[in-house]
Point group: C2
Chain length 228, copies 2
């Protein structure tokens, strides 16, 4: 297809496509004339991946290129691709190995608790997974606020997160093309994040209404099956 | 307790405490001398709630005050308090009723799909719940990217979100003081969000390793129970 068709298919403006071509983020098309090229489905996929990375993770073009390069280098290994997408594998490899030392005492305590939870769940995760630090920060914040929710209290949540990850990995099956798998890993891991939080908030409103509310189904303004 | 002790207990600097007092976000203490006041546990709780709202939701002091005022006005009704925390109930009441009309066709299609999912789950949620719009945006983005995940594909996730909300509501029980309940609603609904996403990412790495990886448990850099 011509670049105009590629633009139409992906919703990416032609000047931006030319920028991605110049930067090497999009492989060149097959030259058909001195000033024309033919693009294929792989270009559609690659453009969607670029736009998804930039739109959903707020990455710069440079950071996106680093991820694309890393994915290209790991095409054989879907686990590595998934790791890059999750931010587990640094796109600049080696060198900075070893766990980062937390700087404050609450952070250290939070990280120790995060590791206890990870061990209790039997999860095999790398030292570099930034999610362990996010979890540590939340545990430290909960403790600092005097809340009686500690890592034990998060175990039921961890079990549900485990079931969610099972669903996630099921989504990855059936893709043969590695670029399509990488795209899917981005979609599933990153784009579904706001969806999951939104689903939880919707369910929270429903449970809250049933548990504490007086309104119940049929209260004004509520959406129920009958309204469809 | 004196203001200095209140500062020590909550980690909030004295000048900031005085600012919250001036703004009426923190109720005045009991005057013990012309220039001294005595503060109690309710001040500790209120300060923690203020700091949690500002830190975890990135709210301005003004927006936080509006939420606090709304919670104070609804002290009788935990469902209303939960709704305010979730952003379901506008802190400025009435007037802007009715569903916002989506501006584009993909948004309208996304919203229709979000409503189908909500109806399928049997969730009783208000028109104003912003999470329905977030869900609609993700569904529109998935469709725009040509992904074969539609609202049916999100149903298994919705069922797990439903179980998470059950856990959330269980956390609300046992608090008698309404301010403590409001604080807990904030903690549970907002502060646990990054924790849930982090737990999912940790579980994803574990599943990905088992499904696609060659390393398996015991690979270098992995944290397992044996490392503790």
């Amino acid at each position: 297809m011509r670049v105009s068709e590629l633009s139409r298919r992906t919703g990416v403006q032609v000047p931006l496509i030319k920028y991605y071509l110049r930067e090497g983020m999009l492989p060149p098309g097959r030259a058909t004339a001195s000033n024309q090229a033919d693009y294929g489905e792989e270009h559609v996929h690659r453009l969607r991946l670029i736009r998804t990375l930039i739109a959903t993770r707020g990455l710069s073009a440079g950071a996106t290129k680093a991820i694309l390069d890393a994915i290209a280098a790991e095409q054989e290994d879907l686990h590595q691709v998934f790791g890059i997408v999750l931010g587990v594998r640094p796109t600049v490899r080696e060198g900075d190995s070893g766990a980062e030392r937390p700087s404050t005492e609450p952070e250290a305590a939070g990280l120790a608790d995060a590791r206890r939870l990870i061990a209790e769940m039997g999860w095999d995760v790398s030292q570099g997974n930034p999610a362990a630090h996010t979890l540590a920060e939340v545990l430290a914040a909960l403790s600092g606020l005097g809340a009686d929710i500690d890592w034990h209290g998060l175990l039921p949540y961890a079990r549900l997160a485990d079931s969610i990850a099972d669903l996630d990995v099921q989504q990855m099956r059936g893709e043969r093309d590695l670029l399509a798998q990488a795209e899917r890993a981005v979609l599933v891991s990153v784009l579904l994040e706001p969806a999951l939080l939104a689903l939880r908030r919707l369910a929270q409103e429903d449970k809250s209404a049933r548990q504490f509310g007086g309104g119940g189904p049929g209260a004004p303004g509520s959406i129920t099956a009958a309204d469809r």
